[in-house]
């Protein structure tokens, strides 16, 4: 039987606010335990929550970015359960009425093997505001468990998708897209190691063609895209094998072990808590007006979709190139800066996606750390455009700029890479080449087009790559009467 995997994601994005969602305590990461735990964080008797408006703005930004309905009147609810790192014995979250309703994101699924790259729309079910819990610390004191409440009350936006994804690749493409989007709009730093962006993945399988969903298992707390890919692939295989062996899938929460590459059930849902959600009487319903939305919208950067469309229209880029350049706000900004500094858009796009990306990847650098700035790249591309250097020579110049050898013109000068555009000099070279390659000339005249390219090659070689290829072409055509 052929199987189909069905995947939905729940992502917790930690919002970049200075203070906690319901108190004035700092949200900074990595401080000494409990130094950022105010009376509200500790849940002393009598304390009350006050909603941080900055967290609300983050939620509105996200809603606008995924074209979602933003709920005019959403409600905070208490999720009740006991755990030592949950100081109040309940988490303030949103349940029946989340701040962000249905929306969608378009993802780019990369080519794999023979299957080409494609776009797909993933529907967002909802996104809601909630507070993070603290952390249990084991072993800091011999034989004891400690509680660090620095993180308790840190604002989170939980983003839930429809079960729209059909492969690990799609799930990872969505996660990457979301990861980039929350950073693009400035609501989350995206730091997966510090837990600022954590994904829970719901996986189920069903016979291909069936419209009934299988029983899902939830893989918790994946903190890298690589692990997500591995975990989904393992989980999918495991579920298919289990079913094919005549077994059944129990709804469960599972953990991924990166060392073994396996998923394992943590607890079955049957033992799960009844969270006894009810509206938090300490907080008023969250009201968001059209004016609030307009105010937040005015503060938002151009969104990737809009920028992509603009790159296509303004610069004549292909959809794929425009999508690649707008996959990250920093890359898009680098490209735009290069164009602004005078580079032609198409070569700029090619260089950013080609040489620049290749070097960055090889050195594991972000584009913001690129040794060659957008303005420097533009000055290099201008020297190609004005025929000072050839494309090949430009690659050498780029390498030299990357290692900090200086500015474009100085490098061209010192390396003697200036293109020969002197008609007389080129003519002399061509005459030499024609004389030395009479056989090729004959072949060309007999109708072999390929011989022409060979002659161009010979001329370029004779000029040590410095001759202007366009001029060589033109003059050669003239001499051969073509």
């Amino acid at each position: 039987m052929e199987w189909e995997v069905v995947i939905g994601l729940e992502t917790h994005a930690q919002l970049q606010t200075k203070t906690k969602i319901f108190s004035g305590a700092s949200t900074e990461f990595g401080s000494e335990p409990n130094t950022q735990a105010c009376e509200v964080s500790i849940a002393l008797p009598g304390v009350l929550p006050v909603l941080n408006k900055e967290a609300v703005n983050c939620a509105i930004k996200f809603g606008l970015a995924v074209n979602a309905e933003i709920t005019p009147r959403s409600v905070f609810a208490r999720k009740n359960y006991f755990y030592p790192d949950l100081p109040k014995g309940y988490q303030i979250s949103q349940y029946e009425l989340p701040v962000v309703g249905k929306g969608a994101v378009t993802i780019q699924v990369p080519a794999m093997g023979k299957s080409p790259a494609y776009e797909k729309v993933v529907n967002i079910t909802r996104a809601h505001l909630e507070e993070d819990a603290g952390k249990s610390v084991h072993g800091a004191v011999e034989g004891m468990s400690g509680i660090d409440l620095n993180r308790a009350g840190t604002p989170l936006l939980e983003i839930v998708t429809e079960p729209d994804m059909r492969s690990a690749a799609e799930a990872v493409a969505y996660a990457k897209k979301l990861h980039e989007l929350v950073q693009w709009i400035g609501i989350c730093d995206g730091n997966m190691q510090e837990g600022s962006f954590r994904c829970d993945v719901n996986v189920s399988v069903r016979p291909k063609g069936s419209d009934k969903l299988g029983t899902r298992r939830e893989i918790k707390n994946l903190n890298s895209f690589k692990f997500m890919q591995q975990a989904i692939e393992f989980e999918t295989r495991w579920q298919i094998e289990t079913l094919e062996d005549g077994g059944t899938i129990q709804q469960a929460t599972v953990l991924f072990n990166p060392d073994t590459g396996e998923t394992r059930a943590m607890r079955s849902k049957e033992e799960a808590n009844d969270y006894r959600y009810f509206p938090d009487p300490d907080l008023l319903p969250l009201e968001i007006t059209e004016a609030d939305k307009a105010r937040v919208k005015a503060l938002m950067p151009e969104l990737p979709e809009a920028m992509k469309a603009r790159f296509e229209a303004e610069y004549g880029l292909t959809s794929y190139d425009a999508a690649t350049l707008t996959a990250s706000r920093e890359v898009a900004a680098y490209f735009a800066d290069a164009v602004k500094a005078g580079a032609d858009a198409k070569p700029a796009a090619n260089w950013v996606m080609g040489a620049v990306s290749a070097k960055l990847n090889a050195e594991e650098k972000a584009i913001t750390q690129s040794p060659v700035s957008a303005v420097q790249l533009a000055s290099l591309l201008k020297r190609i455009a004005d025929n000072t250097i050839s494309n090949n020579a430009a690659k050498q110049v780029f390498e030299a700029m990357w290692t900090g050898e200086g500015e474009v013109d100085a490098i061209i000068e010192s390396k003697g890479l200036k293109q020969v555009s002197d008609t007389g000099a080129i003519e002399a070279i061509i005459d030499e080449v024609l004389a030395a390659n009479a056989a090729m000339v004959e072949e060309f005249k007999a109708g072999k087009e390929k011989a022409f390219n060979a002659l161009v090659g010979q001329a370029m070689k004779a000029s040590k790559g410095k001759a202007n290829p366009a001029q060589v072409n033109e003059m050669l055509k003239k001499k051969l009467g073509a």
Binding site: V47, V50, F82, P84, G89, I147, Y277, F278, P281
Partner: protein, 484 residues
């Protein structure tokens, strides 16, 4: 001096006829003498109290005293007060010393009032007789064999026995008004949101409201001037302009429309209490009031609705008492679950456990719609009853409690009989309306309180209505014989 109004005390302090230290010491001496018997206070700290009195005297000498500067006030032990043991009447918090001040406490501190101590109360404000307190029952100053009412029983006894100049209380279903009725003094529960709940230990967040307990309406008005006001730390605190609650005290009552809900005078009301209330209404007629028959048809549903919603909120509010960070923790346990179970089994009393169980039940999957949601719907109907009633009258009057003070132990084994104590007060909490209890006479030598319910934010008018009555009656000036 111990019988003087806050206004008189304030004038005596201003004229240096008495110092705050002297006044405070007079109350402390009285507490020394009577509190061992009455048990109105859980925590006393003479050193802290007298330090505040000294500071008040300096402030009075410097000429920047406010109305309550130097006046000794008792604080219900539900308010966190920095450096004070703050127990909420529970073993769970018996060892808890608050590291911060509730809004109400800091308001009194800013006004220069003196904190005499923390008063006894039903555990987590759950009770109508003060008998659920971990720190023992409180005796009704009018009859030591009887209860003072609850949950603000300690504050009630302290006011009635003149163990303070005035006190604070909180009222979730009647916890200011019922003890005010049973102990014969004036108590006001303001409109929900008028007094900040910050630092006031939560019982049922959507119903809890702090208010004054004092000898007269005028004293309550002066207390309200200190307690009320917007606080950004409480999201349900209302951002309204500061009011002077004494402003309307002297307005005549000519033409006042008094609504009498027929449901408040039906079966369940003690006949002698009913007679006292009738006499009070007759007094209001003499003052020029016009009597209007009204109906609050959903009154009978208020107790069942309350005993779904209040326990639901309480079950969640009390989850933080888990032994992890502060308060009681079981001495020995085998694992985390055992620690939770033992800590909470040991730390909470029977009534608190009963309400946590009820609340957990009504919020559970499968029961939520039938109980919690249904109760919320009826809560709106109860509020609509009042909305309709206030189209026909300015204030509503009736009894504050169905009977006078009952014997200690009489109702402890019958929670439902105990819950019925709040039959006339609970509906105002559900609607968020202000209510007060005013001494209106005696039945078998025990005080009876007249309840006055006002429309939202009508506290100043209610205080006016009560004050005018207190100008022509002297019930509020009576105090228990033998304690004078």
């Amino acid at each position: 001096m111990i019988n003087s109004s806050l206004k008189t005390l304030s004038q005596m302090l201003a004229k240096k006829e008495v110092s705050s230290v002297e006044l405070t010491q007079a109350f402390l001496n009285r507490i020394d003498a009577l509190n061992p018997e009455i048990n109105a206070y859980i925590a006393l700290d003479q050193e802290k109290t007298l330090a505040q009195a000294k500071a008040a005297d300096i402030r009075i000498a410097a000429g920047n005293a406010e109305a309550l500067t130097g006046i000794p006030i008792a604080q219900k032990d539900i308010f966190c007060a920095q450096g004070w043991q703050t127990t909420c009447g529970s073993k769970m918090l018996a060892n808890f010393v608050a590291p911060y001040d509730a809004h109400v406490i800091s308001q009194f501190d800013a006004a220069g009032a003196v904190n005499l101590g923390k008063t006894n109360m039903d555990e987590f404000a759950m009770g109508s007789s003060n008998e659920t307190s971990y720190f023992g029952g409180v005796k009704n100053p009018w009859d030591f064999t009887r209860v003072p009412g609850g949950s603000s029983g300690g504050s009630a006894a302290a006011v009635a026995a003149r163990l303070c100049a005035a006190a604070t209380g909180t009222d979730t279903g009647g916890s200011i008004r019922q003890p005010a009725s049973l102990c014969g003094f004036t108590g006001l529960k303001p409109t929900y949101g008028v007094v900040s709940r910050y630092g006031m230990i939560a019982f049922a967040s959507s119903l809890d409201q702090a208010g004054p307990m004092a000898k007269s309406a005028e004293d309550c008005a002066l207390m309200m001037n200190v307690m009320a006001g917007f606080d950004e730390r409480d999201s349900t605190s209302l951002n309204r302009e500061k009011e002077d609650y004494t402003r309307d005290l002297n307005k005549p009552l000519q033409g006042l429309r008094v609504g009498l809900p027929k449901e408040f005078f039906a079966e369940g009301l003690d006949a002698n209490v009913g007679k006292v209330i009738d006499a009070a209404i007759a007094e209001y007629k003499k003052l020029g009031a016009e009597i209007v028959e009204i109906s609050l048809p959903n009154t009978g549903l208020s107790i069942p609705v309350y005993y779904v919603l209040a326990p639901a909120e309480a079950s969640s509010n009390l989850s933080r008492y888990d032994g992890v960070r502060y308060g009681h923790r079981a001495e020995s346990y085998t694992d985390l679950m055992d620690m939770y179970c033992k800590t909470r089994a040991e730390g909470f009393g029977a009534e608190v456990k009963r309400r946590i169980l009820i609340g957990t039940y009504v919020l559970s999957a499968g029961y939520y719609d039938a109980y919690y949601l249904k109760a919320q719907q009826i809560r709106r109907l109860i509020a609509q009853d009042f909305e309709e009633a206030f189209k026909h009258c300015d204030v509503i009057m009736g009894p504050a409690a169905p009977s006078t003070a009952f014997k200690a132990g009489e109702k402890v084994d019958d929670p439902v009989a105990m819950y019925l104590q709040d039959i006339y007060t609970i509906s105002t909490n559900l609607a968020g309306l202000p209510g007060m209890s005013v001494p209106a006479g005696f039945s078998n030598n025990l005080p009876v309180g007249l309840q006055i319910i006002g429309n939202y934010f009508d506290e100043a008018r209610m205080l006016n209505v009560a004050h005018q009555y207190q100008q022509v009656t002297d019930w509020h000036t009576r105090m228990p014989e033998g304690l004078a």
